[in-house]
Symmetry: C3
Subunit: 360 residues, 3 copies
């Protein structure tokens, strides 16, 4: 018997059980510096102690997405290393600020499973939580995956919760307590546009493009300790249907989010996201472009100084368009011939998420 | 109206006004570690707490050039994102040590502008300052750029200061106060050559060559939060006259400076520079080589333990020469046919700068 | 006379003398973060403050191999920049934990030399030590190199110690004092296999493969301040017999060690190694795979909670094999035709080393 890590098949997931993922991880200012270098992130909450302190935080925060990638990476060996497909993740919510020096651990509860009669694979639903060293939950999300069965001939009844969670209920979103104490200092918000300057339906062009090299995405996935072989093994992937390594979808989210700085400079952090749709794979050498759609504007109860914007962050690759034309691109549209919904062939990501935006 | 950042044209710069650049940045030991990894820098002032403390500093410093790139990067969106050409920068002076954990912000005063009659573009002169979290100026420099006019048919008189600053007056150079208190410990200077070992006119061969990959320079420019698209967008740059991404000139300075360790090991930091001439662009895959010329040796008034060397740091690319031949290369020479001054075709950079060098 | 660093030839090494290597280096949490990003390391001792503290350490440690590479890198300019061949290194022992913020310096004693009569080159044996800022030795190893003579016509008698050291005597291995005080908390060891689960002769397949890009290994060697030109100068190396840059062998060790996480998750650190054999060079674009052989299991006198495993870490490149076949590969075998011992053509490394492994 080889010493391979637990390779969970459909039958191995027990509804109601909780898997504590391997080892905790301390995120430091080294990780934040690396995150900036690998993504081009400029949001000041994560790279300016002064900015964060003026908002009431102890110091600059670990980037929200770095927290997400770290917790997600921890769950991969137990949950999805054996998955055929990542079907979705939803109700991603950031619940506590994470500071450089904090140590994060992760666990996942198996909340449901179902399988088609006679199928080779079934679906497993999990609820993953990330905790800091004080045991406080810093992040939670739901995920559902498709995974091979050991015994395709046997079929069991659905168990537990087997429906994707609904959209985030903003009453359950956590505004960092530092922010709610009227601590906001107007002099810190140097961007030009505030909550009231955004209009529902408006599209924001982020202008920049970013080419991704193989080194970039492998260093990023390494930094998140996500070692899925599709990202790292060029030798094996040469024989895959893609012929090359795939870029970790979370890194694509990070690049898109960093590109979104232009026009959303005053953003005070991510509250959570409803869903992230990874439309086409991204490869080394691809250039990403992004725009944002303002899907909704939400006044938060009892909070005067800022509100939430619901943003659709659309990302395409290798698509040269002028500023004017961007208004016209549809990421998703009905094909006039087939009458079916389909995505733009260059589309790679659509993230439906919520950000905090100060009022003037 | 799209949410694009201020795109300043010639007419938009008002002489006498000051632009506070977007957000401050905390530089950490993470940034210093990354700087070493991306440049190969070995000067101990930035990577040895012990070395720095023996000199009287609190701990190791943030690399001078990382301070420069960070402040310069902050100014790009407001000053030069719309520029046709960066005409020059001068009187770059480092005025305070920057420690890991310090937060830097930047502002630029518009000090002058002029335009040729009927021209499409004019020149704008700015004075940029970087401040730490205590409001102390850590870096200052002058810069002048060429920038398109909105209304080429209108011409205005020159305003303010429209001449490049003269060479640095070493009386205005700031010796870190930690260093002036006779704190220097002879045991820390382990390099073989000291102030008195250098001769005006001497050329120092730095021997090493360094090949730059696309990932390297993009990570570096990201780390400086300089997001100029020419460095990052391989997709658009494929259609430029270069056919590929350009490497940020500041990264070239950093590589050249790191190469210059061989033969200048005892250097205690950069005081400032008179000018940096970027002669030819550098691209991913190019290999840089550097040599230094000792332009001047300056005894600093009232300071016994070290002096200033004025150094011409010459950098070429893809040029295989033996040690002996390097003495003969001229970066700039008079073409015997045309009788015009011209640069060696492989030249990329000439930096005229001042370093502190201990005496024995 | 150019300002070149000391280029030591065979005659320049004086048996009994000690060379203090240039400048000390502070390793920070920035260096640890970068190490993870460049190698994919996941061992929790180096990336989880919580894990390390439960074992009795003050906080997470600087990765053992990063300590090795830093000390080794310091010794290169004085010892091996002029070497024709690195003949071997042995008796590598880690003697004190290194924490983020510690400053390391290095020195090498010349312990022996010998030369064949009339040969162009001789062998020099050195003993290198790394010290922290308190003067405590954190690492020691022996090394022997082949180096050109200035005067091939003269031959001297062997001097000093000219035999490689024997295998490590585990009585001289240092168990970190934090670990010996019964501080071990069983809840921290989340891997599935403990000391008693391993069998002498067993082979552990690490499954993952890792492709190395040029940027990756250059950033790593830069981070270790090892500036040997074979790793960095693509322009010159194009004319070498390899036609391209060579990857620093220490980085290959780091990648192999990081790959070895699968199946050795509970490892508590490296005690030392007997020898590291670099069989074939590794180049940018190569994909590394690794497996481990359990060579020995050693109970440490007076220590109940963990023992030492002697591991042979075998590394190959660009070799696609199924799990089952890996059991059969021989890194070293007798060629049936020539009856000579030879290595597998894809072999790159064999490291014979000792790790600490907790008991259940």
């Amino acid at each position: 018997m080889g010493k391979y890590n637990l390779e969970n098949f459909f039958e191995d997931f027990e509804v109601g059980s909780t898997i504590k993922h391997l080892f905790s991880r301390t995120l430091t200012e080294g990780d934040n510096a690396l995150y900036v270098a690998l993504t081009g992130d400029r949001f000041p909450l994560y790279c300016s102690a002064e900015f964060a302190q003026k908002l009431g935080f102890r110091r600059e925060l670990i980037n929200d997405l770095l927290v997400f990638h770290t917790i997600f990476g921890k769950s991969v060996p137990d949950i999805s290393s054996n998955a055929i497909a990542n079907l979705g993740y939803a109700d991603v919510r950031f619940l506590q600020p994470v500071y450089p020096g904090d140590t994060l651990s992760a666990e996942s509860e198996i909340i449901g499973k179902k399988e088609p009669p006679g199928g080779q694979a079934g679906q497993v639903y999990v609820h993953t939580k990330g905790m800091n060293q004080h045991g406080k939950i810093v992040l939670q999300f739901y995920r559902w995956i498709k995974i091979n069965k050991r015994f395709p001939e046997e079929t069991t009844e659905p168990q537990g919760n087997v429906t994707p969670p609904p959209e985030i209920d903003l009453r359950h979103v956590q505004i960092p307590s530092a922010l709610t104490q009227e601590t906001i200092d107007p002099s810190i918000t140097r961007g030009r546009w505030f909550f009231d300057d955004y209009t529902i339906g408006e599209r924001i062009h982020h202008l920049d493009g970013r080419t991704i090299e193989e080194s970039d995405h492998m260093m990023a996935a390494n930094a998140y300790q996500n070692t899925a072989k599709v990202h790292f093994n060029g030798h094996q992937m040469a024989n895959s249907r893609f012929g090359k390594r795939l870029i970790y979808g979370g890194y694509v989210i990070s690049i898109a989010r960093s590109l979104s700085f232009n026009g959303l400079e005053n953003t005070l952090g991510i509250l959570g996201w409803n869903s992230g749709t990874h439309i086409n794979p991204t490869f080394g050498g691809d250039t990403l472009y992004a725009w944002s759609e303002v899907l909704d504007k939400i006044n938060l109860p009892g909070i005067d100084h800022f509100g939430a914007l619901r943003i659709g962050l659309a990302t395409v690759k290798n698509l040269s368009l002028q500023k004017e034309q961007w208004q016209e691109i549809e990421l998703k549209f009905v094909d006039p011939e087939t009458e079916k919904e389909q995505y733009h062939p260059n589309a790679v990501l659509y993230l439906d998420y919520y950000i905090l935006m100060p009022k003037k």
